[in-house]
Each structure stands twice: as structure tokens, then as C-alpha cells.
């Protein structure tokens, strides 16, 4: 058992280069997402860019700074699958928000 545990233990230290690379990438991505606002991109282009840069940054932080890339697969799965529940929640609330604004417009603007 102890032998098995020792064998399973992953290496926890990594070359400094990988951290500096991720650090630099995070800076660049943050700069890009700030530029989205700077150049006043609007509509679908704005939202796509914001979400893309956001997910890239989140992925880099989780994978390398939080060591999830090297983490045990069982732990990775336990952490990431619950996020699908949040995604469902987002879907529900988008529908709910549309319905609420629809009823508000109907009753506030058109009256009883």
C-alpha cells in the first residue's frame, strides 16, 4: 500500500520557464481583453472576444498555476464535472430573464 502510494505520488516541482510563459500569456490575454473595450467593439464580436479571452485565462490559471494539468485524473473529474450544473443554471436563467423582461415590457409599457 505504501509502495503503491509512493509510486502514485507525482512530481510537484516544475521548471521555472513554464511559469514565466504562463505569466506572460496571462498578461497578453488581459491586455487583449482590455483592448476589446478600448476599441469599442460591440455586439457579437465583443462578447465572443471577451468570453474567449476569459476562458483562455481561466484555463491557463487552472491548468498550470493550480497544477490541475499534473493532478490526479480522479480529482480533475470531481472538480470539473460539477461545472456542467452551472452551465445548466446559466441556460435556465437566460430563459427566465427573457421571460421577466418580456412580462415587464408588456405590463409597464402597455399597461393592464
Amino acid at each position: 500500500m505504501t509502495d503503491n502510494l509512493k509510486k502514485e505520488k507525482q512530481t510537484t516541482t516544475h521548471k521555472i520557464g513554464i511559469y514565466l510563459w504562463i505569466w506572460g500569456l496571462l498578461f497578453v490575454l488581459s491586455f487583449f481583453s482590455y483592448m476589446v473595450d478600448w476599441f469599442h467593439f460591440q455586439g457579437l464580436l465583443r462578447w465572443t472576444l471577451i468570453v474567449t479571452f476569459m476562458l483562455l485565462k481561466a484555463g491557463l490559471i487552472m491548468a498550470f498555476f493550480m497544477h490541475l494539468f499534473w493532478e490526479r485524473y480522479a480529482l480533475v473529474n470531481v472538480l470539473l464535472w460539477p461545472m456542467t450544473a452551472i452551465a445548466c443554471f446559466v441556460g435556465l436563467m437566460v430563459a427566465e430573464g427573457k421571460y421577466t423582461v418580456f412580462t415587464r415590457l408588456v405590463y409597464f409599457v402597455l399597461g393592464e
Binding site: T13, Y19, S30, K57, I61, L79, M93, G97, R104
Partner: protein, 235 residues
Amino acid sequence: MDQSTLDKLPKGFKSIGSDFGTDQTAFKGVPWGKAMMWIFLLSDTFIFSCFLLSYMKGRASTVDSWPNPSEVFALDFMGVPVPLLLIAIMTFVLITSSGTMALAVKYGYERNRKLCGIFLVLTAIGGLTFVGMQAFEWSKLIFHEGVRPWGNPFGAVQFGSFFFMITGFHGTHVSIGVIFLLIFSRKTLRGDFDAGKKGFFTSMKSDYVAIEILGLYWHFVDLVWVFIFAFFYLW
């Protein structure tokens, strides 16, 4: 599932099988403190998700126009209003402190007491700078522009309550992180982790794995800011 079927699975799934099978220890080789921190962060993810979701729903369902964050959070620089200037600086400060934290974790695992401690102090300074700028931002909005949780001069009344709730909860996380960073930098520089001294609270042997666990929390705070920055300030 018998052993021969298990062996046919891809490597990752095989390790899931051996972690969650009967009579098995889950997360083999992962220190329990680290697993617990991850589970705490998962629950924290749900809290922040609920905040951001209620913000999304509130913003989507109001009939008033939403204040333009690009203008609300603009800062005058030499007489010219620069959109989101302070927020951009705050983002860069937090990323910088995340980088120094990653290096502190790296040097912790190499049992490099001095560098680990120095990078922890640098991370704490970054966190303090962030909280300071946030305090400046809040006071500017509260005292000069009259933003309140129940109303503001820019548009939809919900703006204030979402802003104070979400950034306030995040700022609290940063502040708590700074306190722990200072405590642990003292412990590191004092040599607790090298000597394996007993902790005052848990009375367990100190180990550099504590730095990685603290690092997980700190990177999470940065992670949450990535989402707040995207959804609240840029959207």
C-alpha cells in the same frame, strides 16, 4: 469490473477506477489538505457563480438601461478620461501577484526557504495593492458619484447592489488571502517548514505542501477576478 476490463481502459479512466472502486482510497497521493482546499474552492465557485448569475438575470430583466461600465469606471489621466484604467491596473496587479505566488509554490517544493518567503511577501504586497485600489474605487463611487445599493445616477438601480455585492465578496477573499499570506510568509522565513515544527492550530507537522494549498486559494481569487472583469466590467 474485473481487473482485465480495467486494464483495457485509457490511463486516466483507469486511475478513476482505482480511486473510486470499493475499498479504495480516493485521490491517491494527493495530500488531504489539498483535496479539502479543492473541495472548498468548488463550493466557493458555486457561490460566485450564483452572484454572477443573479447579476446576469438582473441585468437581462431590467427595463431601464444598464450603466455603461466603460464610462462609470473611467479615470481621469492628465485631464483625459481613460476607460477602465483603474480596473485594468488592478487586473495586472492581481495577475502579477498570481505569478509570484506560483513561484513561491515552486520554491517551496524545492525547499528554498528564502526565495519562497520572499515571493510570499511580494504576493501579499500585490494583494494589498489590489485591495487598496479597490477601496479607492469604492470611495470614488460612493462619495463622489453617489452610487448606492438602491440607486445610482447612471441608470438601472440594480447596478449598485450587484457591484457592491460581487466586488465586495471578492475583495473580502483577497483580504483574507493577504492575512494568510503574511502569516505563512512569517512561518516560512522562520523555518517552520524546514524544521517540521508543529502548527499552533492543528498541532500537525508543518510542511511546504501548505504553501501549495495557500497558492490554490490565491490563484482561485485571481480566477474569480477573471470572470468578474469579463462579465461585470467588460460586458
